[in-house]
């Protein structure tokens, strides 16, 4: 009886400690729930910031390519060329009805003196055409230099944090939360600049590091044209000749500079290895890593980071791609379509 009674008597007042234990457990559970919530929410937030920043910068890259491509296409529209009206971007112009002195850029190439293709009436006409195209090329180069300096990667930039101020100011004005205290943002566009370290953000501060941005490189395809000649004195047609636009503009002993349509120099431009539906591919793109620290209940600080890569979709625009001439058999022409667009790696 004593054995049975004793524990029974000891039960008196047990509810308080039991309730206290339950409450303590509940409070700990609540703390854990709130901590998980805070970390999960910040994780979602930094992932969105990384996605948005990657798309933003990649869109600027695509936009710059479009600008150059559009100026190529602009040279297809010097004059009203065809009874059908101007060609659409990405289409081959009607090269049959062209003004031979001022052909659309897609129609100018004729390296083999083919009489069914464009023949400039004289060398002087071809040289004038070369000067015109060269002027547009110079404006393209100016744009590219401005663009590369703008992103802090051009000849005129030092690569320091200050030289990236334009890119930073655009990013921060579009995505102001990138400047939130404790947020560290790293941006790169070449495989070599991919940051491997995962430093914690400086306490109370923020940082937007764009020093991993490398300049885009473009090259000019020197167009070889053909022109008619006249035999001096006799004033009769001579043999047709061909020459590149760059050589036509060459003066003195200086090296000939290419003149023609501009294309992205893939071998010299920064590329990222991205996984597309076809597997790993090298593409123009941008990687962004966003790090942020979360202070959780219990005095701990948990680092949360997210990475995102956006790239320019291959073939979404056309920059000198060859297409069959619908008006002349067995001839291919370069076409230009300024519609490059971007997507996130992993996005459908």
């Amino acid at each position: 009886m004593r054995l049975l009674r004793a524990p029974s008597l000891n039960r008196s007042g047990q509810f308080v400690p039991m309730a206290a234990m339950v409450m303590f457990t509940v409070v700990v559970f609540l703390g854990a729930v709130v901590n998980v919530y805070k970390v999960a929410r910040v994780k979602l937030k930094v992932q969105n910031l990384a996605d948005a920043a990657a798309l933003n910068v990649a869109s600027q890259i695509a936009s710059s390519i479009n600008k150059v491509t559009d100026l190529n296409e602009w040279m297809n529209h010097f004059i009203e060329v065809s009874p059908n009206g101007p060609s659409k971007p990405g289409d081959v112009p009607d090269c049959v009805h062209v003004n031979a002195s001022l052909p659309p850029l897609s129609c100018a190439e004729n390296p083999n003196k083919n009489t069914s293709l464009n023949l400039f009436p004289a060398k002087g006409d071809a040289a004038a055409y070369a000067r015109l195209v060269n002027t547009v090329n110079q404006s393209q180069m100016m744009f590219i230099n401005v663009y590369n300096n703008f992103i802090g990667a051009g000849v005129g930039s030092s690569g320091s944090a200050a030289s990236n101020s334009s890119l930073k100011s655009i990013l921060l004005s579009d995505i102001p939360e990138l400047a939130d205290p404790g947020t560290l943002v790293t941006i790169w566009n070449s495989a070599g600049a991919d940051p491997t370290s995962s430093n914690l953000p400086p306490p109370g501060g923020s940082s937007l590091n764009t020093s991993g941005i490398q300049p885009l490189k473009f090259k000019i395809h020197d167009i070889t044209v053909s022109y008619r000649t006249t035999v001096p004195i006799l004033n009769v047609p001579g043999p047709n000749e061909s020459m590149s636009l760059g050589v036509l503009l060459k003066t003195g002993n200086q090296a000939a500079q290419p003149v023609g349509w501009m294309d992205l120099d893939s071998s010299a431009s920064p590329l990222l290895s991205v996984t597309t539906a076809r597997g790993p591919q090298l593409r123009l793109g941008v990687g962004v890593k966003v790090q942020r620290s979360v202070e959780v209940i219990g005095g701990l600080t948990i680092p949360v980071s997210a990475e995102s890569v956006a790239f320019v979709v291959d073939g979404s625009g056309e920059m000198g791609d060859s297409k069959p001439d619908p008006f002349i058999a067995n001839v291919e022409r370069p076409v230009f379509k300024p519609t490059y667009w971007v997507k996130l790696v992993g996005a459908k």
């Binding site: 039960r11 007042g13 729930v33 709130v34 996605d51 948005a52 798309l55 101007p86 379509k337 300024p338």
Partner: protein, 230 residues
């Protein structure tokens, strides 16, 4: 001692322990059980609020991507662009974040506006948000019109969910405002420049030129060539 007696003893012993040990445990239970119930309700409330908070951020991230991919940036005129985006009539939900919420009148519900015409980008965004929540939450969900990026590359979207907790013993807890902001990339399919296209458009009011996002006849998206399957 047979089993019956033993049982009887136990019962009486139990009564003694509960009722006659200074009456302490009963008093404790009277106070603590309601307290524990309130605590349990609080826990459920906090957990639910946290889950809803995460859901609101998920919804914001989703609609930011939709806004980034779908937002129309080219068209026949500014008006048609706004129509395609579903923001032509400036009829987006008002942002209740700064409103002083009143539980009695549920005054925040007056800030909600009807969903814009289907097929527009803004309608897709609102539908996507509403599909993520229970239909009964619809009156308390707000998706203000997206704010375009200052330079045009990243738009800002906001999702707000107001949760009215149930009253506890006649005491009405204040409404909880959960809001999340997310950013979407610019319409990456719309780089085509209008300079070389005709600006005429068909009887549907859609432009079928290469720089228009939708085909004028079918209404399907165009210019999304991905020839290399990137």
């Amino acid at each position: 001692m047979n089993s019956k007696r033993h049982f009887k003893f136990q019962i009486s012993n139990f009564k003694f322990a509960i009722c006659h040990s200074s009456g302490q445990a009963m008093v404790e239970m009277v106070f603590l059980i309601p307290l524990l119930m309130i605590l349990a309700a609080g826990v459920i409330g906090v957990v639910y609020t946290c889950l809803q908070g995460i859901k609101v951020q998920q919804a914001a991230n989703l609609v930011a991507r939709i806004q980034g991919q779908e937002r129309v940036a080219g068209g026949f005129s500014f008006q048609t662009i706004q129509q395609d985006n579903g923001v032509a009539s400036n009829s987006g939900d008002a942002d209740p974040t700064n409103l002083k919420l009143d539980s009695q009148s549920q005054n925040w519900r007056t800030l909600q506006k009807p969903t814009p015409p289907s097929g527009t980008v803004y309608a897709k965004i609102k539908d996507a948000v509403h599909n993520m929540f229970d239909p009964s939450d619809a009156p308390d969900l707000f998706v203000p019109e997206p704010k375009y990026g200052l330079v045009g590359y990243s738009d800002q979207v906001k999702v707000v969910r107001i949760w009215q907790p149930p009253s506890v013993f006649g005491w009405q807890l204040p409404p909880v405002t959960l809001d999340a902001t997310a950013y979407g990339g610019e319409d990456s399919h719309m780089y085509g420049l209008v300079r070389w296209g005709s600006t005429s458009y068909n009887t549907l009011g859609n432009n079928s030129q290469f720089w228009s996002q939708r085909d004028g006849n079918s209404g399907a998206r165009q210019n999304l060539q991905n020839p290399n399957n990137d």
